[in-house]
Amino acid sequence: MDFSKIDPWILACSAVTVIVTIIMGFRSAKSSKSASDFFVAGRAVSVGWNASAISGEYLSAASFMGIAGMVMLSGYDALWYPVCYACGYLFLLLFIAGPLRRFGAYTIPDFAEGRYDSPIFRKIAVCFVLFIGFFYTMPQMKGAGTTLAYIFPGLPYWVGVALVGAVITLNVALGGMKGITLVQAVQYWIKMFAISVPVFVLLSVYGGYGKNLSLNHSASPPAIVQSVDPGTIVRKALPEKAPKDEAWVAPFGPLTTKAAKAAGLTASEAKPYSLLYTFSLIVALVCGTAGLPHILVRFYTNPDGVAAKKTTMWVMILIGVFYVFPPIFGVLGRNFLPELYAATGSKGPDKVVLELPTLIREKYGIMGSILSGITCAGAFAAFMSTFSGLLVSMTGALAHDVYGRMLRPAATPEERMKMFKWCAVLVGGVSVLLGSLVEPLEINFMVGQAFAIAAASYFPLLFMSVWWRGMTMKGAATGMLSGGLCALVSATIVNASTLALDKGPMGKLFAGFNGINDFWKVHPLLRILCEQPAIWTVPLAIGLMIVVSKATRHTVPADVRMKMLVLHAPEALGLKQEYIQEQQGPAH
């Protein structure tokens, strides 16, 4: 490792972010004492704090680094990611946020058990917290490895992954959710600052968003409504590997046509496949947002349903504003850092956000380093906050559900707190292990897969349980398991086949899966349906839920009307207290 290549500014900014995060974690560890503090922050977090915290947790390495990298690599098609990440929240708001909050339970497994009076269903629901969680942590770990490899040139990718994983695991084990709420909220603002300020500086140096975009010519000279003078911008020549302008700037470009192209189809033959890919991606991201376990748990930290709705509104604004910026990095990166197209892994387009600000060093000297330091700090905030959130919800599932409910229901609060810490260490360790495998995969693509799994499992469960009285436990479980597992298996197959193509060590490890790639060439449609499974897994899950529930109609919970009232009646009517008294049971 060559220490002389380390930029002191970049190192300093990143170090400050990490240290502030740790200190805040430790400080709040002192104030979080009870088990309830650990799990849902005492249920009294103000709208502003909670909205910032949800946004902070949501804006992951995929949002911060991955989108920019993907827009640079694939152009227009990648824009669906930021848009659906932000707008998927609308679905959550419209159909799920209010009712779920009124029902009042710590976690999704709590909801699953409460709605169907079934402890077995809780166990099934817990599995998906872990499945989705691990799929979501892999890209965060790649973000960590990429960023550290950028700050310390020559540092192996896996060292970065292990280092960041260890720091956050320690933080979570000591602080729990209460610490996290504060940390997440602050980290949202760090990320917002870190993505917007460099964009403003870069745009003022290199010309506007539209101007930079206009350098990419469309296929046929189009009608110009309002012309811009691209005169002053001189972009660098694109390398061989970069997609051509026409394909990049227009819909149905390299991202969505990859499978069809590999099968040797012509452009016009490939177009319907691209449309299918796009629709499936939209379904995955929009429904997936509404079913992310680590986001949903935050709705329980609101004092009431009205606050939950207001929070969602603010979250949509906070993340919507954020998501305008990363694609700008992608556009600028294409024009001014085309050499990244040639590299792969942690040195490829996924690091465009970190690298781009250093370009203005030539003109403004140290400013470039400071700006790059700021984006590095943002990247740290991104993967640290999302990983902490995931760690809390996965650890919560293990400690609260598996240990506290299944293995040892008689455990004392002290034992549970101790277990929470051990579970955090376990989950953190597995995440680091998985994270070090995925260097060749794109950050944003991996996050999309986690969404696809959530879309096919939790979304149908929540949506149908809230709005349809006829659901039975068997129906819900069958639908959720089939949809979720189909999505999980599809994602795993696609990842294995992609890793097999890698030229590095991962390629050797996964070489056995190379045969799948030959299969994809012959069956592009199957490849798309595996790469973006939501378009068939979501209807499959919902369909199975309806069919099986109808077949097992006699097992509809007897007090379903009361449950539906609690889910839907305004809280002012005070039905929840009444319901809990009647239940006389589960001590939440």
Binding site: Y76, V83, N212, V225, G320, W467, A558, L565, H568, Q583
Partner: protein
């Protein structure tokens, strides 16, 4: 757990109230979702069917890029805003409705 007998004396526990409540909420949610989905799913279709039009340049952006990368966000905020205002009004109305119903029944 024993099934809870429906309290016929109480309006808010009646089938009638729950049915009306869920129907009104679902109607609001579905109409907002429709406004959202028309644009979200319509855009890829427009890209597919009218590529020339969507490639029109507006201030350097292609029309399609401008809609998706910039204008879509405020559109969704407007829908969310409308939904929240309406659903809060709906809740207040339901509480009033329930109180009236209880009086009528008793």
């Amino acid at each position: 757990m024993s099934p809870i007998p429906p309290k016929e004396s109480d309006f808010i526990h009646s089938e009638e109230f729950l049915h009306a409540l869920m129907k009104r909420q679902l109607k609001l949610s579905i109409s907002c979702a429709a406004a959202f989905l028309v644009v979200l799913l319509g855009l890829p279709l427009l890209n597919y069917l009218a590529p020339e039009m969507m490639a029109t340049r507006v201030g350097g952006f292609t029309l399609s890029w401008l809609v998706l990368g910039v204008l879509f966000f405020p559109y969704v905020w407007i829908i969310a805003r409308i939904f929240i205002t309406r659903s809060m009004a709906l809740e207040t109305d339901e509480v009033r409705h329930a109180a009236e119903g209880n009086k009528r029944k008793s």
